[in-house]
């Protein structure tokens, strides 16, 4: 199932890339992939600030600007780690979006959904989606949203790690992210380089690109100690013995 859906994402991405010169087509892909009326990706920059990375259409753009300005809404909540939804913006609901709700309705949204884009304690941002009719996501859409969030996280990581356009497509295979050694290596690197785990993951990803190996392969070397980041120079150092013995 996952493989089929990933191929669908890939196909949509390819088509979008051909249609426009815009690099980050993932918003439009997300909306189309999930058959919704709009999608937006928010990114966490310095500290806790959210910025809009991309939005799939004008309405999605206006909704994203609205919630970032107000500090309330699906992407805002999701950026803190909680998947959320308001399936009928016209009704009083449990969500604390007193100001956002009527404004979002005025912009044409009737249902909104937010999903975190994260990897453990690393928070990349959030995926927000809207529909112009009320109602929940169906089971397939809900699972698709998690797949999309995962792809978006990897794409953001690859971009920040200096990946090429081609490598973004390569990121569709998320197998490395299921490898516990990647997470352990991230933690180790954060201490080795005296940096945040987010920066450590970017450094790890960048080095994997640089030496041309899979992320999980590099992570294995970090965890086994055969390569490390020098704390003073922040240069990668390979253990000599392992280089000789391969």
């Amino acid at each position: 199932m996952t493989v089929h859906r990933l191929l669908d994402i890939f196909t949509l991405m390819e088509r979008r890339e051909r249609e426009s010169a815009n690099g980050f087509a993932l918003c439009a892909v997300a909306a189309e992939f999930m058959a919704l009326d709009g999608a937006g990706i928010a990114m966490i920059s310095d500290g806790d600030d959210l910025t809009s990375l991309c939005t799939s259409n004008n309405a999605a753009g206006a909704l994203m600007d609205l919630e970032i300005t107000l500090g309330e809404g699906p992407a805002v909540d999701a950026s803190h780690g909680d998947a959320n939804e308001d399936t009928n913006l016209l009704k009083e609901s449990a969500s604390n979006w007193e100001t956002y709700r009527p404004e979002a309705v005025a912009l044409g949204a009737r249902a909104v959904f937010g999903f975190p884009v994260r990897l453990g304690a690393i928070r990349f941002g959030a995926l927000s989606l809207f529909r112009s009719t009320p109602g929940p996501l169906n089971a397939e859409q809900d699972s698709d949203a998690y797949l999309m969030a995962s792809v978006i996280g990897r794409a953001i990581l690859a971009t920040q790690a200096g990946g090429s356009h081609e490598s973004l497509v390569g990121e569709l295979d998320g197998a490395s992210m299921l490898d516990f050694r990647v997470h352990q290596a991230t933690g180790m690197l954060a201490v080795q380089g005296s940096m945040s785990v987010k920066d450590a993951l970017v450094v790890l990803r960048a080095h994997a690109f640089g030496v041309g190996c899979q992320l999980s392969e590099l992570a294995d070397r970090v965890v086994s100690g055969s390569t490390h980041l020098d704390p003073d120079t922040r240069v990668w150092v390979d253990d000599v013995e392992s280089v000789i013995n391969g």
């Binding site: 998947a83 453990g120 304690a121 809900d142 998690y146 201490v191 080795q192």
Partner: protein, 246 residues
């Protein structure tokens, strides 16, 4: 301890854990540890499916890299994968070198001294959300009673994932699964940081984290998050004394 008393004590302990606020990873760890005692196996662990359907390791009776590796392989093949896919228990599957069913998993499991594996499905209203995996080094088969107890523990694990949520719609369940799996990633990131800061191995890193959380009445994932985001330093974690004979 006599078998019946052990089972009663296990039941009471798990029930006590589940009535209050609890950390999902911690409860599943307790469950895995008690499973080893109650069912006469040598290692036990839980794998959960992400909302997208990928099986991932969540908790185990041992955090040694060798045991974790056996769960890592099972993101692709192995008893957990088959059990999850079919929703059916696999019991008393003897491992042998000529067994071609799991060509990557079986040799690694044998190399670590395991002779038999079992996998019990975690099922909720017709949906399989994961599997409880048991490994045994010594000869002999699990009795029918043992299998009943193991399935019972798998069912308790399923309840634990829900964390008091009363609605069981796909969206709520997906969010719970996503949170549980993300918690494990945070813990792996924390383990890497602890290992790099203190020089201990990954197993001890986990146990220090868990001991400190319990000593200070803090959630395991909350503590791991504080550590990864550098609100607490690894050297400030409580010591953990390795039990004799392990």
């Amino acid at each position: 301890m006599e078998r019946e008393s052990l089972l009663i004590a296990t039941l009471v302990e798990l029930a006590d854990n589940l009535v209050d606020d609890y950390d999902v990873i911690d409860v599943l760890t307790v469950l895995s540890l008690r499973c080893v005692e109650a069912v006469d196996v040598d290692a036990a662990g839980v794998m959960l499916a992400s909302p997208v359907g990928e099986l991932q390791f969540v908790a185990s009776s041992s955090e040694s890299m060798t045991v974790l590796e056996l769960f890592q392989i099972q993101t692709n093949e192995g008893p957990c994968v088959d059990c999850f896919r079919d929703g059916l228990a696999i019991t008393n599957h003897a491992l042998s070198e000529t067994d071609g069913r799991w060509p990557l998993f079986t040799p690694r499991a044998l190399a670590q001294g395991f002779r038999a594996v079992h996998s019990l499905p975690m099922r909720l209203r017709g949906r399989t959300i994961g599997a409880l995996n048991l490994f045994r080094t010594h000869q002999g088969t699990l009795s029918d009673d043992d299998v009943i107890v193991a399935q019972g523990l798998a069912d308790v694990a399923t309840i634990a994932i829900l964390q008091h949520r009363s609605t069981l719609d796909a969206g709520t369940l997906n969010a719970q699964l996503s949170n549980a799996l993300n918690s494990r990633v945070i813990i792996e990131q924390a383990k890497g940081m602890i290992r790099q800061s203190t020089g201990c191995d990954m197993d001890e890193a986990f146990n220090r984290l868990r001991a400190h959380a319990r000593n200070h009445n803090e959630g395991l994932t909350d503590l791991a998050t504080r550590l990864v985001t550098k609100s607490i330093h690894a050297i400030d974690l409580d010591e953990w004394a390795k039990p004799k004979g392990s």
